[in-house]
């Protein structure tokens, strides 16, 4: 399945387009997505910080998902570094 990952916060500094497209197997979980994004970051982002990704969550437009959750069928995801609103 094709998964689109929107980038937010510090992840936006890695590339002008705040969207990464990844190819994952059908039925992949958030853990799989985490690994795929880590591989993508290591390959494409010179200033990529794996530790930041470790503390980042993945979410749909509706909710933050758990590592064991399956990626929603529409493949539209967001990576959320630690939040700092207000």
């Amino acid at each position: 399945m094709k998964v689109e990952v929107k980038l937010f916060g510090a992840f936006r500094d890695h590339q002008p387009d705040p969207l990464v497209e990844l190819e994952l197997s059908d039925g992949a979980t958030i853990t799989d997505l985490r690994h795929a994004l880590e591989a993508y970051g290591n390959a494409h982002w010179p200033k990529f910080c794996p530790k930041l990704l470790k503390y980042s969550a993945f979410a749909s437009e509706k909710a933050v998902l758990r590592d064991t959750d399956a990626i929603p069928a529409d493949g539209k995801m967001a990576v959320l570094p630690p939040v700092s609103g207000g």
């Binding site: 749909s60 909710a63 609103g85």
Partner: protein
């Protein structure tokens, strides 16, 4: 949930309005209204600040605001009106980043509901703050991790 108003305002299109928040949470049955305003200040952690950019995952943030309001309604009873507003985009000094208001029959609930909502928005909403400094540098603030595996171990975060 008409008793709660949740909004995100892009600074390019407008500003948060505390008066509108007060109006919204006012009610003939309410004797206490508490309002919190978060403003961009000129100094943080030893550096002169010129502005703050707020990045936000808007649909998830609005969903989260509604969840936060539902939780407050559960905790403080149905006699509660809430206004939850956050700004988005590049704010200058003095601009309003956040406006939260709570109206209730009595003041104790108004204070506690307002505080609870402010903390929840700051600690759980998908919002990211980038501070801009007078020397031209910009830094994304450290924050609170939303990961389940770091639930009780927040990454260090400042209390702006």
């Amino acid at each position: 949930m008409s008793a709660h108003h949740c909004t995100v305002v892009d600074i390019a299109e407008g500003k948060l309005d505390p008066a509108a928040a007060l109006d919204f949470v006012s009610d003939p049955a309410f004797g206490g209204i508490t309002l919190f305003v978060g403003r961009v200040r000129d100094f943080n952690v030893g550096r002169d600040v010129t502005g703050i950019s707020y990045d936000m995952f808007v649909p998830l943030a609005l969903n989260g605001f509604a969840d936060i309001a539902a939780r407050a309604e559960h905790d403080f009873g149905g006699k509660l009106k809430l206004y939850i507003g956050h700004a988005k985009g590049r704010l200058g000094l003095g601009d309003l980043a956040m406006v939260v208001a709570a109206g209730t029959p009595h003041r104790d609930e108004a204070f506690r509901a307002c505080r609870q909502v402010v903390e929840a928005v700051k600690h759980t909403s998908p919002i990211w703050k980038q501070e801009h400094y007078i020397d031209g540098d910009s830094i994304w603030s450290e924050g609170c991790s939303l990961c389940e595996h770091t639930d009780s171990a927040h990454a260090q975060h400042d209390h702006a």
